[in-house]
């Protein structure tokens, strides 16, 4: 008996809540909210300092991909011969078949050059059979958009910063301990 009344009060409260904040997202007219660590399709990143892609074409990601959806070729880096870049080789041709990509992120894990990221793109359906095959300019474009959206810092740079901060912290602690010994 009492539970009926409690239930009615609950639905009355939820009616007012539903009038103000229904949980429905009217998808096509409203974009899906995407969390920062959302794993969409893979994309290639761009190094703004020496303007060129991070990717050197080393093929590690291609070898480790479970569905073998990627292919690439490398070439000698013209910017390296001019002395503007430390990368001896650079990516020449890169293709991902997004129909086969399972968004596992293994390519990102094994990459040694911070060259590939899981972007936030997830709405890339096309109506032609080969529309899922994306080439290098498109991948770089998606990567650039991802970098701008999230303020992406290469993980190796982040790792270096973290190590320096840890080393500085340790030096500070050692100095504090020494000065403490001195004072005694």
């Amino acid at each position: 008996m009492l539970n009926t009344v409690k239930g009615l009060m609950l639905t009355l409260a939820s009616t007012f809540k539903g009038l103000r904040h229904p949980v429905t997202q009217q998808y096509p007219t409203v974009p899906t909210p995407v969390k920062p660590r959302f794993m969409g399709f893979p994309a290639l990143t761009w190094d703004d300092d020496t303007p060129e892609p991070f990717c050197t074409g080393c093929m590690v990601c291609i070898r480790h991909c479970p569905t073998q959806c990627m292919s690439a070729t490398m070439k000698d880096n013209p910017l390296n011969e001019e002395g503007k870049s430390s990368r001896k080789k650079i990516i020449d041709f890169f293709e991902i078949n997004l129909n086969r990509c399972i968004l596992c992120g293994i390519c990102v894990e094994v990459c040694n050059f911070d060259a590939i990221v899981m972007s936030h793109e997830h709405e890339m359906s096309t109506s032609d059979r080969n529309g899922g095959r994306v080439d290098l300019p498109a991948l770089l474009q998606i990567g650039r958009k991802y970098q701008a959206e999230t303020g992406w810092i290469p993980p190796s740079v982040l790792e270096k910063q973290r190590k320096e901060a840890a080393a500085a912290q340790q030096r500070q602690e050692v100095a504090a301990a020494e000065s403490g010994d001195d004072s005694q």
């Binding site: 009492l2 539970n3 609950l10 639905t11 939820s14 229904p22 009217q26």
Partner: protein
């Protein structure tokens, strides 16, 4: 010459009645379509979602989309069915639903045909609808349809009795069966204040009469695939659907007339229609609210509730009204007696509903005791 004027006057009367009937028909259809939209929106918001939004602005074209879909569906006629009965059943249900509205006053004098026996007429036509349901089940030539039809008839007949008892109590209070007199009688004090038990019984039994959740087991699609309506498709089924909403609106209107004072309210007399509509829509929203909250009762729970709770409460209502009238007690005694009846019944139901919980506790306590004994013996 005199005969000619008489004929002319008679024709004008007939024309007037036909016009008002048409207006009622059209108005009710529009209101019922609007109710289907309102129900989906209210249920949606209650469930933290939006309800129809894409068909027209705010989903306002949804009832029209539903109507078009239903009309365009293939009209199935089972080969073994009795064609005449199959065809006539929805007609009976919807005509009886419309007939009730002929005597319901929306304002002082705003009624198609006021009858001295208004309440009697209404309860009589509510029963005619039940015949339509049984015929629907029989005409389907489907075992489950027939059983569903009989079950629907059982449920609706059982809940007619508390309704009639409460209606008799209200008639005793107002000393008339005329709906307009009943509304006028509530001028200082509404019947709901004097007889709250009556309002509760009328509302709950009315929900069951219409076949609304939590009493809609007989035509629930997920439970019995439509019950007596299982073989009806498209426009045929739409007629039953329409009849259900007309009945819901009628129960809300009757409850507001019998207990909430119909068109009475502060302000000038022409505002009466507005008050009436406001009260009816408030009650309709409560019906939707109850639908969105409570799960269905099983048919045996439903029937037990009708015969073991509603009917005795109905008799109790008549007895206390009669006592109040006979001994000429002040009105608040009637309120007190009805509230007492409600609380006693509520307490008994609470005891009965909590009994399994207590039994579980007992059994667990006994088991714990036995375990302790065995451990001590070891």
């Amino acid at each position: 010459m005199a005969a000619f004027t008489l004929l002319a006057v008679g024709l004008i009367d007939v024309a007037w009645i036909v016009a008002s009937l048409l207006a009622m028909f059209v108005g009710l259809s529009i209101v019922v379509l609007a109710l289907t939209w309102l129900e989906r929106k209210v249920l949606g918001r209650l469930q933290l979602r939006l309800g129809p939004t894409r068909t027209g602005p705010m989903g306002l074209m949804q009832p029209i989309a539903d109507a078009i879909k239903l009309i365009l569906k293939e009209d199935i006629l089972p080969s073994a069915s009795d064609k005449v009965i199959f065809w006539v059943a929805p007609v009976i249900v919807v005509v009886s639903a419309f007939m009730i509205w002929v005597t319901i006053p929306a304002g002082p004098g705003l009624v198609i045909q006021n009858l001295d026996l208004g309440l009697f007429y209404i309860t009589a036509f509510a029963v005619v609808g039940i015949l339509g349901l049984v015929l629907a089940g029989w005409g389907s030539a489907n075992k489950y349809g027939i059983l569903g039809g009989l079950r629907a008839a059982a449920q609706l007949i059982s809940y007619e009795i508390p309704i009639i008892l409460v209606v008799v109590a209200v008639a005793m209070l107002a000393q008339s069966l005329d709906l307009q007199v009943i509304v006028e009688h509530q001028n200082p004090v509404l019947h709901v204040v004097v007889l709250p038990l009556g309002m509760v019984i009328f509302f709950i039994a009315g929900l069951a009469e219409v076949g609304r959740t939590p009493f809609d087991i007989y035509h629930a699609e997920s439970e019995v695939v439509g019950g007596p309506f299982v073989e009806y498709s498209g426009a045929h089924w739409a007629v039953f659907f329409l009849a259900e909403y007309i009945n819901t609106f009628a129960i809300a209107a009757l409850a507001s007339i019998l207990f909430l004072g119909g068109w009475l309210g502060p302000g000038p007399a022409w505002l009466g229609v507005v008050w009436f509509l406001l009260k009816v829509f408030a009650l309709v929203l409560v019906v939707f609210w109850v639908r969105g909250t409570l799960p269905r009762l099983r048919i045996d729970q439903l029937m037990a509730f009708a015969w073991k709770v509603m009917v005795p409460l109905g008799f109790y209502t008549i007895i206390i009204t009669a006592v109040y009238l006979f001994y000429d007690w002040p009105a608040w005694t009637l309120t007190l007696m009805s509230l007492a009846g409600l609380s006693v019944v509520g307490y008994l139901i609470y005891r009965r509903v909590m009994a399994p919980v207590k039994l579980v506790k007992e059994i667990k306590a006994r088991q714990a005791q036995q375990l302790a004994q065995r451990q001590r013996a070891q």
